[in-house]
Subunit: 432 residues, 2 copies
């Protein structure tokens, strides 16, 4: 009996591409029995043929000419792991139009142009899968699109950036300051040379846009996500959070409310009792709430050569099954609603803040009175340090509209008794 | 445009059946846009028509005659939530042979007869899905069968019984003894009137058999799983475990080793640092290790009306997509290997034990010498309590063949200086 072979092409042979190459090799002997056919990497697109040749056993499959792949009708699956918007987007669109199925790990692309790409895939009855674009090796796209479709999902909360979670874990467990923890992350290879996208929350924002779109059946793009990074978090904030029974995590939060979708990424205080609080180091996790499933959480490696390749090869194998059953394109875009995205100032949050204020009678009353005027109720107020002339106050508010809170902050900052507002950090969850 | 309707029948209208009915109602308005068709419950099979009529809005769809469903060619999906082996097995086989796709939550059936049922489904090009049979609402079957297929999975560790996890959590957090915690679980509805299957580990054993089969691509049935319950765990064991930095959990452990599959369910000490240690109350979690994905964990509600229905409806919706794309049967049995199952005595484990021994010189040496004779190395030995004539010793062993350990125990028990061996509990994981 002749062996059934399905040809694939890999675009890119960086860390993730090399991982895909390795995982396909590791699975080669069992593929036919497992999924009904063997996936053969027929071509690998690279920029530098010479550099790439050192990485693989069959340098003859390397090419720097996209047309060689696009025009090869025997190639049914294109695996894009180049990253960036262009030329990835053009290549993927061309591949789909040529009837090739596509797997990508490209969160930038899916978060900004996912709708267009999914429409193109549907028009050409192709699969367009991107499990690896969110939370690396953790199965989350397929669970959201298939396992949990019987739910109205109301909330997705994610620790979906390993770099920042590593930094915050070091700041928490070893009392490091942000700059030192970032330097360590860079040294250990957890942070890129330019860490902006990670530490400013952009990377997490892209993943939240993708998950929110799927979970709420309404398109959310990266441009809709309000992002705030972790650069202003200090080890003092973390110590004070601990006194309140909390840790500080960079959380992506997406909520489907009656008045629209809320979606943001920011550092937040999380109760130590919440399952997300014990997600440490470079691990990622996504916490989901639905009307039927209640709470569920998915935990694992959010990045890395082999974990990301695990997700990509899972997608490739699913496409093989679809090809063998002539049902490519069976899971399509599920954004059949057009829900409004709420403005950040209309979102309700709880806040933690640290204020340096004069240590004179009536100061607390004055601050409380300003907050009250803007409908900010105080849930907790603790005087932390008393110096000669000023005291450090920690205030945790009840749930309040962000707009109101920020209006109150503007007034507080101008008060003569307020020396400075040294931290403002949101608090996740309801009051206990 | 006429609305596309796919007819389904529900077998059973107990807790889970009612949940499925509710979740389908909750999704009715969106189904067509979400999955391309509306699922209509055309018939519900019940024993007591009158009792069931009170539960639903359309009592006319109730029947107590299976033939009415089997012979109705317009019914494409059968959802079995009766539980038990018969008549569930006969009904499912008949449904598959009639070309109907089947969803079941029946772990007893899948754990003992899964191979036969999957073969029957494949022969008839039908889907046979059972996401709800393991860990309730937690997506785990689809992740194992699809998302993680690019891995050689080497280990599955699960807290997959909510009743026992609730009991152990109460014993840990409130120092309750087993009998009191069980009574509380019964009162709160977490334990059934006859709790045997839960507290003896049989229920968890069934789920481990199903997951091991899928993860290791080799059939494991419930009969292959060594099970030990939690009835002998005392609050003292839990306190001593805490002193060692551990909690006690009922763990299902399945390992794919070079010499065969190990699969068992038993109470175990787990390091407080392990993600499974903070899975409390009636929550379930499944921890997976693979060569590509590294560690991953899936957490959520392992039982209950709506969480279980969430998993079932996810399967039903997947079948709808397969029907619309004419590809039912695309995910088949993946047990293409026949790996040996190791005997329990050949498995290597670490052990925690409490021994009451005479408080006389040379006792420790005598005990250590017996253990050494059977190749049991001592990793830790702590003298806990000294009474007038005896002392309580806590011993934690290194990894040892279970057979050797049990041979050593037989000798220890007969030693004059040993008053009793009050606990023997396995320890999860490697020495730190």
């Amino acid at each position: 009996m002749s062996k059934k072979v399905i040809n694939a092409a890999l675009l890119g042979l960086g860390t993730v591409g090399t991982g895909v190459y390795k995982v396909l090799k590791n699975q080669e002997a069992e593929m036919e029995k497992k999924i009904g056919a063997t996936v053969k990497l027929k071509k690998i697109l690279v920029r530098n043929l010479k550099k790439a040749a050192a990485k693989i056993a069959e340098p003859e499959i390397l090419t720097n000419n996209w047309k060689e792949i696009l025009e090869d009708e025997s190639i049914d699956i294109v695996i894009e792991v180049m990253g960036g918007i262009e030329p990835a987007k053009t290549y993927i669109m061309e591949a789909l139009k040529a009837g090739k199925n596509v797997v990508t790990a490209n969160k930038d692309l899916v978060a900004s142009h996912g709708g267009e790409l999914l429409d193109c895939a549907a028009a050409n009855q192709c699969d367009f899968l991107f499990e690896a674009a969110v939370a690396g090796g953790i199965p989350i796209i397929r669970p959201l699109k298939q396992c949990l479709t019987g739910n109205h999902l109301s909330e997705i909360v994610g620790i979906v950036n390993g770099t920042t979670n590593f930094i915050l874990t070091k700041m928490t467990q070893e009392n490091m300051e942000f700059a030192d923890a970032l330097a360590l992350a860079t040294k250990l290879g957890y942070a890129e040379a330019d860490p902006t996208a990670d530490i400013q929350g952009y990377d997490a924002g892209r993943k939240m846009a993708i998950m929110a779109s799927i979970a709420f059946n309404s398109r959310v793009t990266f441009e809709n996500v309000a992002t705030e990074g972790i650069t202003r978090i200090s080890s003092k904030d973390i110590r004070y959070a601990r006194d309140l029974g909390c840790v500080i995590k960079l959380l992506g939060v997406a909520r489907n409310t009656d008045t629209g979708i809320e979606v943001s990424v920011q550092p937040m205080l999380v109760s130590e009792k919440h399952p997300l609080a014990s997600v440490n180091d470079s691990f990622n996790a996504v916490f989901v709430h639905g009307d039927a499933v209640d709470d569920a959480m998915f935990y694992g490696r959010g990045a890395g050569e082999l974990p990301t390749a695990s997700a990509i090869v899972g997608d490739v194998f699913d496409i093989v099954r679809d090809i063998l059953f002539s049902c490519t394109g069976r899971i399509r875009c599920t954004c059949y609603k057009t829900l409004p995205i709420k403005n950040q100032e209309d979102i309700e949050s709880r806040f933690f803040m640290r204020i340096h204020a004069s240590d004179t009678p009536g100061v607390l009353a004055a601050i409380a009175s300003v907050l009250g005027k803007y409908e900010v109720s105080i849930a907790q107020m603790i005087q932390k340090h008393k110096h000669e002339e000023w005291a450090e106050l920690v205030i945790v508010t009840s749930r309040v509209k962000e707009g109101n809170f920020h209006d109150a902050l503007l007034v507080l900052e101008k008060m003569e008794v307020v020396q400075k507002i040294s931290s403002v950090i949101r608090v996740y969850g309801e009051e206990e």
